[in-house]
């Protein structure tokens, strides 16, 4: 869903970016700048990321999974560590691959709010990317549709108990959408979505608590299934 209007800037975010490819780093800096966000620091490896967060106390961290020195999952681990130290720090992780293991590790850190896990390709869809960034900065949970699609293929308990429609709704919740947005996406009434959501929460045996929190738990259940 793309339009020709310029991306809206809900509020200007101070971002610390970690990406080892200079080409991409510059690109993302330019992109964020273009959309009215400020990149406080753009670094190329995990230790520098931790240091930059110390120094700049940003609104959100955007990091690549694979970075020097080991070129494995340093970026992800740095993000998880950062969240252990500052549970309120929103983190958006970009990955070349959809990996449930990465997503689980990330969502397990903190209470699962204010985190995002996106395929790197998404930065190409400028608006969606920036929307996701704001969503995460506002404490939302954003999981790449590709991860969700992969999970949907797994027809295992407890998700087997869900109807196809409920699974669709859960997939959209996992993408961080509100009931209103889900209703629009599925072309149904918001009340109907609300019914599906409570159906999902009941079937997944989620304890009654604050609605947002339960929604996050539903996503987590989804990812760990």
């Amino acid at each position: 869903m793309r339009t020709d209007r310029p991306p809206r800037a809900r509020r200007s975010l101070r971002v610390v970016l970690a990406e080892d490819s200079v080409l991409l780093r510059e690109g993302i800096v330019g992109l964020l700048d273009r959309c009215g966000h400020e990149v406080a620091a753009a670094v190329g490896d995990a230790p520098a990321l931790v240091a930059a967060v110390e120094e700049h106390a940003p609104d959100i961290v955007v990091t690549d999974v694979r970075m020097p020195p080991g070129f494995q999952d340093e970026g992800l681990h740095a993000a998880v560590r950062l969240r252990e130290e500052r549970p309120a720090l929103p983190v958006l992780v970009l990955s070349q691959y959809v990996q449930r293991a990465y997503a689980s590790e990330l969502l397990d850190s903190g209470d699962g709010t204010g985190v995002g896990y996106l395929l790197k390709d998404r930065v190409g869809h400028v608006e969606e990317f920036v929307d996701a960034l704001c969503e995460v900065a506002d404490g939302g949970t954003v999981v790449d549709p590709e991860v969700v699609r992969q999970l949907l293929r797994r027809r295992r308990d407890p998700l087997e108990r869900l109807t196809p429609r409920e699974r669709e709704v859960l997939a959209l919740i996992a993408e961080g959408r509100s009931n209103g947005a889900i209703a629009r996406a599925l072309v149904v009434s918001e009340a109907a979505v609300g019914k599906h959501v409570s159906g999902i929460l009941t079937k997944l045996d989620l304890p009654p608590a604050q609605e947002t929190h339960r929604r996050v738990l539903a996503v987590l259940a989804y990812l760990r299934a």
Partner: protein
């Protein structure tokens, strides 16, 4: 052509005047000395070990005695080169890991060690006196006969000399006659030395460096080179994956990003449409490249190990897969990789050919063995040899001393089982191959 050993040398003319008789004598002489030293060493350590065994201190000494064959055989193999130019291969395997314990475990378990101990005992108990006797008869006897005139001039004051302490000669012509006889005897004894040394060398070779070992060594070397080849193949896959990831993929993402930004700026119209098309194409290219890279070597396997990678493969399968793995820790890289690709190929076959509604993967690591099973409820009748990718994977598993078996009766169910012996490693990074 130079003679390769003392036997060949003896069959040629000029043996007597060549270096071979002296080499034979040196071989026998050093043999006598080595044997005597070995006898003393073995007896001392065995007795001390036996006595001290009561207070447990002696047990290591007894182990040391059992390993006495190793240094003796080493010296013997070295000495063998004096009279035998053929290669003298050792029979020992390299230990599985560095350190004293793995070395001891390997040595105490292999046959070569006990064979060498037997050789050392025979050598220390019986062979070295024979060596000494041969050298005495073959070298000292003719030398002392030939030295008669010298004896007469010195010890006998020019009047008499004893030949071999038996016969007495009293005049110079007789002395020189005996000396001439001594020289003749020396020529004869050169052959005695050659035969003795040759026989001893053959016996030593038979006991501690049989010629079959050359074949064994070549087989071992072949097996090792096969492992190296697989490891190199594996490393190459990783390198290609990394290169694509760091190069083409990043550039494509950057391209998609540039196109995405350009679309924001483009006014509606044909240009915007073309930009949109280019943007979508870039997205598709990225998706394809990602799948390709994943097929070459999945990142999750490197980062999280076999359990996560198999779960990931199950996620991607078109047929629902129940995964039940219990594989804590990490396994050697080549094992993880082989096992993962077997599972992936098996799941691909399930989706393509079996017509199954459901598949299951189970995996355990017990008693130094990784066992993975992939079963499905399909129609069966799968044939591993019928040009499927499984043949190549079976080869890959066999390089790791593993086994791949397939049971697929017509009507199903199909069960594929792979077993690979391996130990857990606690490596954090994709480390060296387990050769």
């Amino acid at each position: 052509m130079q003679p390769r050993n003392v036997w060949q040398a003896m069959s040629r003319t000029g043996f007597v005047l060549s270096s071979w008789p002296w080499r034979s004598a040196a071989y026998l002489l050093t043999g006598a000395v080595t044997g005597a030293v070995a006898l003393v060493g073995i007896v001392v350590s065995a007795v001390a070990g036996g006595v001290l065994a009561v207070v447990l201190v002696g047990l290591p000494l007894l182990v040391l005695t059992a390993l006495a064959g190793l240094p003796v055989a080493r010296v013997e193999r070295y000495r063998l080169r004096m009279v035998d130019a053929d290669p003298v291969p050792g029979l020992h395997r390299p230990p599985a890991a560095p350190g004293l314990r793995p070395w001891l475990a390997t040595r105490l378990r292999e046959r070569a060690t006990w064979r060498e101990l037997g050789h050392a005992l025979l050598f220390a108990g019986l062979l070295w006196p024979v060596d000494a006797l041969a050298v005495t008869v073959g070298l000292l006897l003719p030398l002392s006969v030939a030295a008669t005139p010298l004896l007469m001039a010195t010890a006998g004051d020019g009047r008499e000399a004893k030949v071999l302490k038996q016969w007495t000669v009293t005049d110079w012509p007789a002395a020189f006659g005996v000396a001439a006889l001594g020289l003749l005897l020396m020529a004869l004894c050169a052959y005695v030395l050659g035969v003795a040394a040759g026989a001893r060398a053959e016996l030593t070779r038979l006991l501690i460096a049989p010629r079959d070992a050359e074949l064994d060594a070549r087989v071992t070397e072949l097996a090792r080179s096969r492992v190296r080849l697989v490891d190199a193949f594996e490393a190459e896959r990783r390198r290609i994956e990394r290169d694509l990831h760091d190069g083409a993929q990043q550039r494509l993402v950057a391209l998609a990003m540039t196109l995405g930004l350009a679309r924001l700026d483009a006014p509606p119209g044909p240009l915007a449409d073309r930009l949109a098309k280019a943007h979508d194409e870039a997205g598709l290219a990225l998706a394809e490249l990602r799948e390709l890279i994943h097929g070459i070597h999945p990142e999750v396997l490197t980062d999280y190990g076999l359990e996560a990678a198999v779960a990931d493969a199950a996620d991607r399968s078109a047929v629902p897969v129940d995964v039940d793995l219990d594989l804590p820790g990490r396994l050697p890289g080549s094992v993880e990789s082989a096992a993962y690709f077997v599972v992936r190929e098996a799941l691909a076959n399930v989706a393509r050919h079996s017509g199954a509604d459901r598949a299951a993967v189970t995996g355990r690591h017990r008693g130094g063995r990784l066992t993975l099973e992939v079963r499905d409820d399909g129609r069966g009748g799968a044939d591993a040899s019928a040009g499927s990718g499984l043949t190549g994977l079976a080869d890959r598993v066999s390089v790791l001393d593993g086994r791949l078996s397939l049971s697929s009766p017509p009507g199903g169910p199909t069960l594929l089982r792979v077993e690979i012996p391996c130990e857990r490693t606690d490596r954090p990074a994709p480390a060296a191959p387990c050769a």
